[in-house]
Symmetry: C2
Subunit: 430 residues, 2 copies
């Protein structure tokens, strides 16, 4: 088939710092998905995009072209408005687990198509799969039925949504072109828009444990994604949230489920509760239900009821015993003082090395592995007191996990004020 | 086999504007040649190099790594010094044909490993192959023998020289990464250094018919290549020469052979003679034989004698009849005046479309096809007088060739002064 464009012309346009026109974008995304543009051509283009950037029109068109590469879901037949949340990933980020049933308990349907983890940040599906019997894969019919009956579903995204993104992401991963904000934003937003949610809240994390280490980069990503959502007719808002230290007191799969259930039971760590409620309020605003107070639904047990129904609907036993790792080791304070720093990335890498995460797609993870945190920022500690407990089924992993934690903790005479969990809010500007 | 480096780390280094260290360069060129670095990784790196650049050390190391990917020839056993010339390619650029035997006639051996043409600039081998019986492929032994006995050989480069360059050039061609000066320079120089010449003269062309349209770009390329040659111990100098208008009065294969023989017989167009002598003088300086005057060797017929011996040694008949195209068509002046512009690119594209060149490697070319030029810059012309004669075996090609020439010629009341053939000389600075 004769092609309407030439890949080298498209690459040269961006290489030389010019914007791609709509036709070029539509063609190159489609032709890449079809295989008419080769991997080595797309990677050169991705590098040019990374260095030269893209303007708002280009990013919106690129996202639309990725959406057009696959199917698009539609929840407009549901009796309730829909809202979804996306996190850019962090250490101990179990927020989806309490948040999704909480928002459903407030009368807004939550269709969460999630992924598995890769690297030091965990995946929501990996966490839920530590619950005995729970199944991540649902048919579209089962998903719609559960959304109507329970009000929330957290399941694996089918391969039909934005297949161009799947192919492009795998390419970027091996070609040093992951860190392009236009491509990150369009990758996330193409899937979320194709998923068909009516409104969307983005949790853009910033700090050592996050993809974005610097606030300016996180803000640029957040603004880009919010604009993309608005351009596609999806009410979108972003929160910039702290990921310099882990969220809550656990990083790992079953460990995080246990902590999430504590939050749903009205307890749990303050930072997890605070962020859950902040995101819930934004989702309710987006779905037009700001009249409902999520704190009440957490306190009165209705969020817990939805959680139990959601787990049960997907084959899980909400009362089942969660797996516990076979071995553990304790890291203790080496001096008296106040904990002034607990580094998110170090804890994330330790949990990963203990078996909670995977290095390659398709690897198995350990349900019980991970890190328990006994002291957080500002807590007084004494020499010899436990700071962290490391869990794994395979004790030969302790050595490398402890190596990751070598410079993870500072203890001083006093600690600077803790950072706010929610750093800023990025609403739509148009 | 475990690799000593990670391709993504190397790509990221250059992507973020940092220099690659020697180990990274050695590894990535070798690993790409072996297939351990994939095409899509090398194309992303090539794009990063194109946009971010490389410093002199990086380019020298990259070139050395490409040389190390293959074999290296050695002419030190010859009884004479060696010198070679490389042209970046132009329209009507038949200079190698008179130049190589002329320099040999001056006592310097000329080992010219040449290529075939691609696009609108012709290839030296294509031109010589229009001579009945002439063979481009020689064994290494035959090449050495001819260099010793005749003093000059123009033949096809074997696939053993810089195989990394061959693989990388094919990749750059389809990924919009041809136009990177570090990669152009290292591609040319890796082959010339591996070829083993003792000295080298570069003819870097600038103007519409050249790869480099702007003088600044041509100068940067020339300086980069001269530095590379010096760093590798090869005495190197570059001339920046004009390619805004075709060289001589012919563009095509047999047409250019005929013109070259005229030059060797003491005639020929002034610009071809001037450039041939200028390059010959540089080659003689490089080889330490500046005591010999090439103009004398042209005038006294010794260059022609070497030409005839060279053609005969490779199976050609120096007295054989050159092919003539079956059809011709004349382009005439549409007004009286002075020819003030004859565009090189237009003539080159016309010759290509007439069948003198190829669009893809491996395509056959027509020996007789091309363009004859009847008026050059500054010549008075009258309406209806022939300006160009187009030649081809396949008359259906005339239409597209004439289309290429639509804006090729300006005729005005007077013409600006002609540009010098040799614009500048770029010697080694260290």
């Amino acid at each position: 088939m004769a092609e309407s464009h030439d890949a080298v012309d498209v690459i040269r346009t961006k290489r030389d710092g010019h914007p791609l026109d709509d036709d070029q974008i539509d063609w190159v995304v489609d032709a890449y998905t079809r295989g008419a543009v080769a991997d080595e051509q797309m990677s050169a283009l991705a590098m040019a995009i990374l260095i030269r950037g893209m303007d708002r029109r280009e990013i919106a068109r690129w996202t639309a072209a990725m959406i057009a590469s696959g199917e698009r879901m539609d929840f407009s037949s549901l009796s309730r408005p829909t809202s979804d949340k996306h996190s850019t990933g962090g250490v101990g980020d179990k927020i989806t687990l309490p948040l999704a049933p909480l928002v459903a308990a407030c009368g807004v349907a939550v269709p969460q198509l999630s992924g598995r983890g890769l690297g030091h940040t965990g995946g929501t599906l990996d966490k839920l799969e530590s619950i005995p019997g729970w199944q991540a894969s649902l048919s579209k019919e089962a998903m719609m039925e559960q959304l109507e009956s329970v009000g929330v579903v957290v399941c694996a995204a089918g391969s039909g949504l934005a297949p161009a993104d799947k192919k492009l992401y795998a390419l970027r991963d091996v070609t040093g072109t992951v860190e392009a904000i236009p491509l990150i934003a369009s990758s996330i937003m193409s899937k979320k828009i194709a998923e068909g949610t009516g409104s969307l809240v983005l949790d853009v994390k910033v700090g050592s444990g996050a993809f974005m280490k610097e606030l300016d980069d996180a803000r640029e990503l957040a603004e880009t994604m919010v604009a993309l959502g608005e351009d596609a007719g999806v009410h979108t808002v972003a929160l910039l949230t702290d990921m310099s230290t882990p969220l809550g007191l656990t990083a790992g799969n079953a460990l995080e489920v246990r902590e999430s259930v504590e939050v749903l039971a009205g307890g749990g760590p303050g930072d997890v509760v605070e962020l859950t409620l902040a995101l819930a309020r934004e989702m309710l605003i987006g779905a037009g239900r700001s009249d409902v107070d999520p704190a009440e639904k957490l306190a009165d047990g209705s969020a817990m009821d939805v959680w139990r129904a959601m787990i049960a609907a997907q084959g899980g036993d909400p009362d089942g015993t969660l797996p516990v790792a076979r071995e553990s080791e304790v890291l203790r304070a080496d001096s008296d003082g106040v904990l002034s720093r607990l580094d998110a990335l170090s804890v994330g890498v330790a949990a990963w090395r203990l078996g909670a995460g995977r290095a390659r797609q398709g690897e198995a993870v350990q349900a019980g592995a991970g890190v328990e945190i006994h002291a957080k920022h500002g807590d007084p500690v004494r020499a010899g007191e436990p700071l962290l407990t490391l869990h794994t089924d395979t004790p030969e992993r302790f050595e490398r996990a402890l190596a990751a934690l070598q410079d993870a903790v500072d203890i001083h005479a006093d600690a600077p004020p803790a950072r706010d969990v929610v750093i800023d809010r990025v609403p739509a500007t148009t």
